[in-house]
Symmetry: none
Subunit: 223 residues, 4 copies
């Protein structure tokens, strides 16, 4: 390969890389603009034109990056799901995969996720509800993953405590219940009341409540 060609290739690669970066930047810009609008105005009340305007691009550009409005929502849910699971998962791992870690994971949900990303919170708990069969299916998948995460965590906590589940009590229902608590407490104190400053205490109480139920599960298991 001649020097010139290598140089050209490098230039091409540089320009290609910059294009790639710009592409991802635009993608993010649109997604963020849409997130803000969906959270504030509601998914149905937000038009593609508004999103384009907020992202300072043309309508066509939005359709270049996203197949349609539904796709925009689904991609958004995807990113939020990843973030949510990483926040909770990291907290669990960092503080030891035991009861203490479980507690911290719960508090991380309230103190880190809900407080820092109220708009993302609004998207997964309100604006993605009942929009279409496809979105609903996607939402179910997201929740199912969270439930699996919770089940794995519960299992690790169990092992750490030296107890095993009895068959009397379905751990899945427990995981679903915990998800319900997270969801509704967030809905109540983030979306309906804006109590970001009290979320630390509220989260602590909710986690305490969860632990009571979970310990009940363990004591059942010990028998």
């Amino acid at each position: 390969m001649s020097f010139k060609k290598a140089a050209t290739a490098q230039v091409a690669s540089k320009s290609a890389l910059r294009r790639q970066r710009e592409r991802e930047h635009r993608y993010q810009t649109i997604l963020t603009a849409a997130e803000k609008l969906f959270a504030r105005e509601g998914y149905s009340q937000t038009s593609m034109e508004q999103i384009a305007e907020a992202a300072e691009v043309s309508v066509g550009a939005v359709y270049f990056y996203f197949k349609n409005k539904e796709d925009l929502l689904v991609q958004m849910m995807d990113a939020i799901g990843l973030l949510l699971r990483s926040i909770i998962g990291n907290a669990f791992i960092t503080h030891g995969e035991n009861l203490e870690g479980f507690k911290c994971a719960g508090q991380a949900f309230f103190e880190d996720f809900c407080v820092n990303y109220p708009e993302k919170c609004t998207i997964i708990f309100r604006e993605s509800v009942g929009k279409s069969p496809e979105v609903e299916q996607y939402r179910k998948a997201l929740f199912d993953q969270c439930i699996q995460d919770l089940l794995s965590a519960l299992s690790l906590v169990c092992r750490h405590q030296g107890v095993t589940y009895t068959g009397k009590f379905s751990p899945e229902v427990v995981a679903v219940s915990i998800m319900g608590i997270y969801e509704r407490v967030a809905y109540q104190y983030v979306m309906w009341q804006d109590q970001a400053e009290h979320l630390k205490r509220i989260g602590r109480d909710a986690v305490e409540f969860i632990l009571g139920g979970v310990q009940n599960l363990f004591s059942e298991a010990k028998k």
Copy 2:
């Protein structure tokens, strides 16, 4: 007033009564048709024309009984809220306003409300979510009432157990958490999976989980 007139008045009153009955009947017919469609197709995917057709009336008739589409949903939520609270409240009162009653009330939610009225369940937990600020406010009010009911019940149970709350633990957060469990378990096993036949067991497990958390509250209180 002449005798004849009185007779006429009586006739008029009879016909007026019949009209009243017919009116209420139509009102119910429309509401039921809409409920079925909202649950099956989704609120936004259902048009007023479809509702009219399903109820075998004209579009104009729907607008005679309901101010607009939103009003239709709100009235529907109202009726569902009343039913839900009466089912849970009656179970609590019937079985003694104590821990046993509290348990039965929870089971009544799953076994009576969710199993017998899956469409109403879908309306309050899915189809009324994030539709408009007005509907959302209405939904908040409905949930707040349920939370008040739960708080009253918890208070009665406390008194019956001879314990009092400590300030360490917010009972409101507990009530919100319980609502969250009800809601998500219903969503998971009624809307996402159709496990009506297992709802008895699922409900029992969920209630057991709740009791664990609640007893934790009491034991805290006892200290």
Copy 3:
């Protein structure tokens, strides 16, 4: 049944009839406006809004009477097909179902259909071509009917002349060929050149040409 009721029924019936009339009138108004626009501007170049404006109704009204733009075109083709076949068919029957009738039928196509309804002519021979698979299928059906009509007519003429087809020569291809002559002569002298005033002579020549081919068919048959 009381007199009053009968009267009311009559009134209702009258009003219903008037509504029916108005409905049909509007339907026709829209169809006619669309026909004119499709012929002048082209199907694709005509927007539903333009049609509504020309018919002096709202866009919604157009969609009340026609499922969509394609449906509008198909209904138009249907009506034109009916008219075309009746003009040709009537001429054939009126002048005796023989060679003379056949000739008159051909001339009726040019002198009555093409001259009096140049827009309808444009619709079936130009604006309905290659629009969509559905429209194309519909167009094929229309042409197939005309071909069947021609085949029946040819058969009657044959019988009248005391000859029968030989197998050597497909009458279907003859019918298709005649259709082709009608179509292209109309296209050439109505759409491409506006020679309405010469269409009598042009039609006579085209029919003469057709007769030459047809008589060839007969003489073959006679051998």
Copy 4:
């Protein structure tokens, strides 16, 4: 001019030639891809992006070779027109410019053009119909040329047969009629029914029909 320069010039010329070849190749690639898509999906249903993709070039490249979508269609029609006329013309000349040649020319249309190039057939007889005033004008020009060809051929055949036209019968209308037969028979048996394997027989019958009409013209002329 130095030797070196000449050498360079030669190199440049070689590379220029290769470029020229590549250009023409790309032009053809795009045209062929578009032809296939227009025939299969329809002109309006095919987007410039689809064409670019099918030709494995960028959208910009398509616009480098063709002014716009319409230009693409017009160039396509041009090439098809040339091919069509050469196929028919060659057959006429090869078999003697007489009645036999006329017959063979007709059969060449069906057996060579329609059978071997069904997509080109679809373009001129369906996909170029009623697209825009400019395309329509172009199509008229194409048909007019064919009609001129037919008139010349008829004139030659006449001379060969030792007859002359009478004024009673317009030869132009005859030529237009023949075009109509070609067109519709192709449309019927290539586009609507895929009877490529029977096209030989169908073509023979159509040509026989035409000859009937034409001989009628001659016999008229003889009188």
